[in-house]
């Protein structure tokens, strides 16, 4: 069941870090819940647990650079009745301790919330080793695990609160950099329900995380040229909002997905699975095209990896039903932008020696 929310007008957007919003909310939750504990693996000051650590030193454990132990200890603490928040950078929160999460957290469905920061290419200069683009795929494949990709600081705050208050394992991932505060002050977060940020019946753009803003920008350009795009913020990748996706397919006849993640296994896959099963329409996926990241400035990285409104427009042209495609083609403005888009397919030369 999706629902509509009016995005904060652009003039009111402030730049905030989701990981800081997480840290602040964790402290508030810590005051409300004596059984809430937190752990980190030597990135406490960066991923957002430092304030909790300062206020509740007895309820915080730093495992050092030891992510398997981070997750195993989290499981053990949960087994004694604690609500556990384990936090580190997304690559170290998923890829490194994957089997520990699998056996010790997901399989016994223990009450551990994995909060990962520094997801995606927007990590910047650290490069591919630290730019996690497969984490949603890894976590989505685990039974009992729910996966949330918040779009801004407010959504992060509400998502953390939801995950902490609900029993069982969760994975939340945010980026390192500042993002605009687009969700309105009175926004109500509902787990597993897509949020319609803009209505439309010509094509649907499903986006989450940092890609919600370019999705809105692309929708603005489309509207200016007479194409009404529906924009859904699909913050919960698992469980996916099947109904919202099916309705989008039926109402608009074409779906674009956009995420700061590989096109394999993340939001694009989750949406495509639903669409293929019940409401077949074209789906075009914007994301990283089966490649690793690289060092760079954030705007350059987003350009390089095709994570901009250009690719969302190109994907719209690809996925939209024929009459909408014709309208897009007629617009020289849109076509000029689309011509500059990166290809929406894996780049085979990446495999060359």
């Amino acid at each position: 069941m999706s629902y509509s929310v009016a995005v904060t007008p652009r003039s009111g957007w402030k730049m905030k870090r989701c990981r800081e919003a997480f840290g602040d909310e964790l402290v508030r939750l810590g005051r409300e819940m004596p059984n809430l504990v937190a752990l980190n693996a030597d990135v406490s000051s960066s991923s957002g647990t430092r304030k909790f650590e300062a206020e509740f030193p007895n309820r915080f454990w730093n495992t050092g650079v030891a992510e398997d132990n981070l997750m195993a200890m989290s499981a053990g603490l949960a087994a004694t009745g604690k609500v556990v928040v384990a936090s580190t950078f997304s690559v170290f929160a998923t890829a490194q301790p994957y089997n520990t999460i699998r056996q010790s957290i997901a399989y016994p469905a223990l009450n551990v919330k994995i909060f990962a920061s520094h997801a995606g290419v927007t990590v910047g200069g650290d490069g591919a080793t630290h730019q996690m683009l497969e984490d949603v795929s890894l976590m989505r494949g685990l039974p009992n695990m729910r996966v949330i990709v918040p779009a801004d600081d407010l959504e992060t705050r509400l998502a953390v609160r939801t995950a902490v208050k609900q029993d069982g394992p969760f994975y939340l991932r945010v980026g390192r950099s500042e993002v605009p505060t687009l969700m309105p002050e009175d926004y109500e977060f509902r787990l597993g329900e897509a949020v319609e940020l803009q209505g439309g019946s010509d094509v649907t753009i499903c986006a989450n995380g940092q890609m919600v803003v370019p999705a809105l920008e692309a929708a603005d350009l489309l509207r200016h040229e007479g194409v009404e795009a529906r924009v859904l913020n699909v913050h919960t990748v698992k469980p996916i909002d099947r109904e919202a996706v099916e309705r989008a397919a039926a109402d608009t006849g074409g779906i674009v997905t956009a995420e700061e993640h590989s096109v394999y296994g993340g939001l694009g896959s989750a949406v495509a699975e639903v669409v293929c099963e019940t409401t077949p329409v074209k789906v075009a996926r914007v994301g990283t095209q089966d490649v690793f990241g690289r060092s760079g400035e954030i705007p350059d990285l987003l350009e390089f990896y095709g994570l901009t409104q250009k690719e969302i427009l190109a994907a719209s042209l690809q996925a939209a039903r024929p009459d909408v495609q014709a309208r897009i083609r007629k617009s020289s403005t849109l076509m000029a932008v689309i011509e500059k888009a990166r290809p929406l397919r894996p780049v085979p030369e990446q495999y060359a020696a």
């Binding site: 454990w61 495992t63 132990n69 997750m71 195993a72 200890m73 053990g76 603490l77 520990t100 469905a109």
Partner: protein, 302 residues
């Protein structure tokens, strides 16, 4: 789950069973009782694995006397009628493949009907090949992939200490398991957090799946390694109750205790002892019959 009213529940063992006096060592009668229990458990173990057609006998037999000491030697505080009693001690089998000894012990302790053992590894059974805390009462942690139960036990000890509970956490590692990097992450952490409510037992049987541990991945001086990581280390003969029980009840003020139990893989059946091929292989019918005879005639524990 509320705590039971009145004084703390006793170490349950079996109804009315005497507990080992740890200060004076084991009396002969008590040791005799434990030996007989261990015989029953070994019979259960070999039968479970024979019937299931798969399962881990060798590492169950090496761990038998330690686990018998924990559950029936007056060491572990538990109440099988209240498996979730918050103040209970915890036992985590980090070498999670040794479920035959864990399940047979839990059945004898009264956590579930002894008949359930017949269903080991079957499609309709709660007794998974590797234990699951949500399926089987008395299984404190889901284990099987090596190296993880240890960290979970550390988390449990931290959580129980935070709550001011009197509970002590025991965790058993295999020596092959000590190849895992996560073990050494945990070794550092438990000492760093000064977890005096944690006792680890390393089942030092010297055999892992591919052969002798010193051939596959040499551990060298394990006692020195654990000492260097900040643990209090006690080395015992892992098949002698008089050594095991005092080591398990030993407490340090500000550090965890590591009991290195020198054991024999497949202990109690001549052709299984020290034989890597009985790590995870079931016996043939002839081997099964022979094993039962040897277990019956065996006298382990003194």
């Amino acid at each position: 789950m509320p705590s039971p009213a009145g004084p703390p529940a006793p170490a349950a063992g079996r109804e009315g069973a005497p507990t080992l006096s740890t200060s004076t060592g084991a009396s002969q009668a008590e040791v005799g009782r434990l030996k007989e229990l261990a015989r029953e458990l070994r019979r259960d173990i070999v039968t479970m694995v024979f019937e299931a057609g798969s399962g881990h006998i060798g590492g169950s037999f090496s761990a038998t006397e330690v686990i018998v000491s924990l559950y029936f030697g007056g060491v572990l505080r538990y109440d099988a009628r209240k498996p979730k009693w918050p103040d209970r001690d915890r036992f985590v089998l980090s070498k999670g493949h040794a479920t035959p000894i864990l399940y047979s012990t839990l059945a004898h302790a009264g956590y579930f009907p002894h008949d359930d053992l017949k269903s080991f590894r079957r499609i309709d059974s709660h007794l998974q090949g590797h234990g699951h805390m949500r399926y089987t009462p008395g299984v404190e942690m889901t284990t099987g992939s090596l190296g993880q139960g240890f960290g979970a036990a550390i988390g449990m000890a931290a959580g129980l200490r935070l709550d001011g509970r009197p509970s002590h956490v025991y965790v058993m590692l295999g020596d092959g398991e000590a190849d895992e990097g996560a073990i050494w992450e945990g070794a550092m952490a438990a000492a760093h957090y000064k977890l005096s409510n944690l006792t680890a037992v390393l089942d030092r049987n010297g055999i892992q799946m591919d052969g002798e541990t010193e051939e596959v991945m040499a551990h060298g001086d394990l006692a020195a390694k654990w000492r260097a990581f900040g643990w209090h280390v006690i080395e015992v003969d892992g098949h002698r109750y008089a050594e095991i029980v005092p080591a398990l009840t030993h407490r340090e003020k500000e550090r965890p205790v590591m009991v290195i139990a020198k054991t024999v893989k497949g202990k109690g059946v001549s052709f299984m002892e020290g034989n890597p091929s009985f790590h995870g292989k079931p016996p043939t019918k002839e081997q099964y019959d022979q094993a039962l005879k040897e277990i019956e005639a065996g006298d382990i524990g003194g």
